[in-house]
């Protein structure tokens, strides 16, 4: 027999959130949809263009290039931050004052505003006065992130890893701390190796929090704007111009609201699709 899946009164409690989301997400989204099919030269005058902007964006080499850069950046930082975050969480102390010290240290990068992170790393990595820049050049490696695409990518990735690995660490650590001691005791009795403990106890128990961590990092990195904008401004050339930077250049720099709106919607659909695929695959794996 079918049963009610939820308590209808709960809707009353989520009503304030629904209203808030309507104002900060749905209304702007509806406006973007409206802009995406029209042309404007300002003064609230619009001309119907149909799907012209979507076609233009889909055939734009500039869009393809920034999408490719974005996918590469997201893939690289996920491949670094997730294993590194888990490794740091595993090496953190389990009890004593060290726990509080480590947690505070880990939380610090997350508390710094994104534009400040960009400015910090900009100064830190400058080849003439920055500590990192001078150190790398001192090792005999020619490094200048303002002129070399490879150095710009290296610095951007390093900055993101510094800023966001802590999030993975904190989530993974929370997952690790929720494992009852009985599991470890049973593993010890069976003579399990540290790798076996990680593979068959810790990793499965962390799967749920790691799902959230990967999803959050994927979404954040796929929509990254402030940090690379402050650090490199999308340069040198366009080598670190990710999707959101390109979008802002089109919308505000060129005031092409129609193409920018169409690009925003395609961007939004890609994020939605990838998030759904990630979530479905991980939930399916968990169910199995």
């Amino acid at each position: 027999m079918a049963t009610k899946t939820q308590n209808s009164r709960a809707w009353l409690f989520v009503l304030p959130v629904v209203v808030l989301v309507a104002f900060n997400a749905l209304i702007p989204l509806m406006t973007v949809v409206n802009y995406s099919v029209q042309e404007t030269f300002g003064d609230n005058v619009f001309f119907w263009e149909g799907v012209k902007w979507f076609e233009q964006v889909l055939h734009s080499e500039r869009f393809h290039a920034s999408l490719l850069r974005q996918l590469m950046f997201t893939s690289i930082i996920l491949m670094i931050e997730v294993p590194l975050g888990v490794a740091i969480a595993l090496s953190m102390p389990k009890k004593g004052i060290g726990v509080s010290v480590c947690l505070v240290l880990m939380a610090l990068p997350l508390l710094i505003p994104w534009n400040v992170v960009g400015a910090m790393w900009n100064i830190f990595a400058l080849p003439d006065i920055g500590l990192l820049g001078r150190m790398i050049n001192g090792l005999g490696i020619d490094y200048n992130f303002t002129q070399q695409p490879g150095a710009a990518w290296f610095t951007t990735i390093l900055m993101d890893v510094w800023h966001w690995t802590s999030l993975v660490v904190l989530l993974a650590y929370a997952g690790l701390r929720s494992i009852p001691d009985a599991y470890y005791q049973a593993a010890k009795i069976d003579g399990a190796t540290p790798w076996a403990v990680f593979r068959f106890i810790q990793l499965p128990k962390m799967k749920r929090v790691l799902t959230i961590a990967i999803l959050l990092r994927f979404m954040d990195s796929f929509m990254i704007y402030t940090e690379p904008f402050v650090l490199t401004g999308g340069g040198p050339g366009n080598t670190t111009t990710f999707l959101s930077i390109d979008l802002v250049k089109i919308a505000l720099g060129q005031f092409d609201l129609g193409p920018a709106a169409a690009m925003s919607l395609i961007y939004f659909l890609i994020v939605l699709l990838l998030c759904w695929v990630f979530y479905t695959l991980m939930m399916r794996h968990e169910a199995q």
Binding site: A2, T3, K4, T5, I27, M30, T31, V33, N34, Y35, V37, Q38, T40, N44, F46, W48, G50, V51, K52, F54, E55, L58, H59, I266, L269, L272, L273, W276, T280, R284, A287
Partner: protein, 94 residues
């Protein structure tokens, strides 16, 4: 201040009315027949009615984009994309 800054058009308004009506219809359906109608479809996923609506809409959006990207506008036949979307939605509901 009116809503002129939102630049409404009849086609986009109709699109959002359709989405709203679909959500209302789904809510009424769930109220009349609770449980979400779970089913394992052609994707091999356990989905509820809401999941199937979401996947249908998302898939349809990508079918339109793919058609536009491959064939461009003016569309050789707008009905072709509608047929593909209908087939996609029908397949999901099986």
């Amino acid at each position: 201040m009116g809503l002129s800054w939102m630049a409404w058009t009849w086609p986009t308004a109709a699109f959002f009315v359709f989405i709203l009506l679909a959500l209302v219809a789904m809510a009424v359906w769930e109220w009349r027949s609770p449980g979400g109608g779970p089913r394992r479809g052609i994707l091999g996923l356990d989905t509820t009615r809401g999941d199937r609506l979401f996947i249908s809409l998302l898939g349809s959006a990508f079918i339109f984009l793919a058609w536009l990207g491959i064939y461009g506008a003016p569309w050789s036949s707008p009905w072709s994309t509608r047929c593909w979307c209908s087939a996609w939605c029908r397949a999901l509901s099986l």
